[in-house]
């Protein structure tokens, strides 16, 4: 793409100020949100390592309208971010979900992977017990068991049982689903131990996409995993990592595929690709798919089944970090929208992490009672029954990397990772500098 050279000749307009880091030395530096043509960039200069410009928004959805009145960084605020993190007193959001890595091993070798897969020894059970005791708040915690690939551990059911006994409210496993497809007794043991729902890596509805993303034709095994989850009443949320030119035309197909498997599939959670881990050179702007492009693609690829007016920016996290949208899958397979985006002027401010946790947890978990309404039920009862049983969410989370990191976003993050006794925002925990240094 010769685009960068061309852009500099166009009019630049600064539309916001924040802070970021230098992707090489990691030093916190000033950053500007700059509009050039139809694109928004995060631009920053390190006195030592030079100028960086990363696209953060493209497309027809109005950027400033979308972010609304988010609180800008004060000059003296969050100066230690992300290095003093753990979490510091200046962090603006409570923990919504806490992610806990049970292994760094994986049973796939993906071209696109967040986790720095490796061999290494698994955390011993005694350590897990001690960690969970520290991080679980009984009756509250939404725990994401992650990895690596957590299902490579034969004792995952015991970990789930332990977390359940310690009073976890929701227990989610982040998985590629392969073991759940191949080993039904293992899934049964997880379900019996108290697994709430599965976050299943699902990058596309064709094997062509599966191969491009994961190196293997996995579609049939993904379907088998969903079938098996259906048997044990485990809700599944499909999680595509979106990479431009690979699966960004499959967004509508993934939603149709997911909603056709309601009530087992509870929603789709899109994650535009971000660049953690080691990369030989800075990712080009053409390698990025922004939240704005995802928003624009949704109505286009769903024949307006998911409209922009149905999608609300995250109130719990920063508006640039994600969105949510809730639906009922009707008998004919169409989506009935329940969410409406406030048309500006919202005065209620941020949502608490607890509200967000309940909103998400209640929808991603299958309803305990899926029996149809009695004959004489009125339309209110029928609506409530369908909203509970056939709930379907379309959500997104855009992770940050060293290039597009925005401290204003980071300080509001509610997805936290347990890391050796400390709780850190997801994007601070997995941040890697250009040399691969964490």
């Amino acid at each position: 793409m010769g685009a960068i050279g061309k852009m500099t000749t166009e009019q630049k307009q600064i539309i916001g100020k924040t802070r970021s880091i230098c992707p090489i030395c990691g030093k916190q530096i000033a950053a500007e949100r700059v509009k050039i043509g139809e694109e928004i960039f995060l631009e920053k200069t390190c006195p030592k390592h030079g100028f960086w410009s990363t696209v953060i928004w493209r497309g027809p959805v109005n950027f400033l309208e979308w972010i609304g009145e988010s609180a800008a960084l004060g000059d003296d605020e969050n100066l230690g971010c992300p290095y003093d993190c753990g979490i510091c007193g200046e962090h603006r959001q409570q923990t919504c979900c806490v992610l806990y890595e049970v292994t760094c091993r994986c049973n796939l070798a993906c071209p696109y992977c967040f986790a720095e897969g490796g061999l290494g020894d698994d955390i011993p059970m005694e350590q897990i017990k001690a960690d969970l005791a520290r991080l679980i708040k009984p009756g509250q915690t939404f725990l994401q068991l992650s990895g690596g690939e957590p299902t490579v551990r034969d004792d995952l059911p015991q970990i789930i049982r332990l977390a359940r006994e310690m009073g976890c409210k929701y227990i989610q496993v982040n998985s590629n689903g392969l073991r759940f497809a191949d080993d039904e007794p293992y899934l049964a043991a997880c379900a019996e131990a108290g697994l709430s729902f599965v976050f299943m890596q699902f990058d596309g509805t064709s094997d062509e996409i599966q191969i491009a993303m994961r190196g293997e034709p996995l579609l049939e095994r993904k379907k088998q995993a969903i079938d098996n989850c259906a048997k044990y009443k485990i809700g599944v949320t499909l999680v595509p990592t979106l990479v431009p030119g690979v699966n960004t035309d499959d967004i509508g197909n993934i939603i149709r595929f997911g909603s056709s498997l309601s009530p087992t599939v509870r929603g789709v959670h899109f994650q535009p690709v971000s660049y953690f881990g080691r990369y030989p050179e800075p990712p080009a702007n053409a390698d990025r798919f922004t939240l704005g492009e995802l928003l624009a693609a949704l109505p286009l690829q769903t024949d307006n089944g998911v409209k922009l007016t149905n999608i609300a920016p995250s109130h719990c996290d920063h508006a640039l970090c994600g969105f949510h949208s809730s639906f009922i899958v009707r008998h004919d397979g169409s989506l009935l929208a329940l969410t409406r985006r406030d048309s500006g002027g919202c005065c209620c401010g941020a949502t608490t992490a607890e509200q967000n946790r309940e909103y998400i947890g209640r929808r991603w978990q299958r309803s305990a009672d899926e029996s149809p309404c009695p004959e004489d039920a009125d339309d209110f009862e029928k609506f409530l029954n369908e909203a509970r049983v056939y709930s379907f969410t379309v959500t997104a989370m855009a992770f940050q990397d060293a290039y597009n990191l925005d401290i204003e976003r980071l300080r509001q993050c509610s997805l936290h990772v347990y890391d050796e006794g400390r709780i850190k925002p997801f994007c601070a925990r997995y941040l890697t500098l250009s040399g691969g240094q964490a």
Binding site: N310, H315, R340, Q355, D378, D379, F380, F383, L384, A387
Partner: protein, 62 residues
């Protein structure tokens, strides 16, 4: 309805009528007592604080 209700304003017997409740894209129809004269309808407490409130909660953004 065990007893016949009368409209407080008009003194006329209320009649059951189907009302469409609209919430954004959701429409829920329900027969409730209406006054044939002034058109006012009456929602009892059980419906208002029960199913109706629950439906609104589903549609509220958190």
């Amino acid at each position: 309805m065990a007893r016949k209700l009368k409209c407080a304003r008009c003194g006329v017997d209320l009649e059951m009528k189907k009302i469409d409740f609209k919430y954004f894209e959701v429409e829920i129809a329900k027969e409730i007592p209406c006054c044939p004269s002034c058109g006012q309808y009456f929602i009892d407490q059980e419906l208002a604080e029960g199913r109706m409130r629950a439906a609104e909660m589903e549609l509220e953004d958190k």
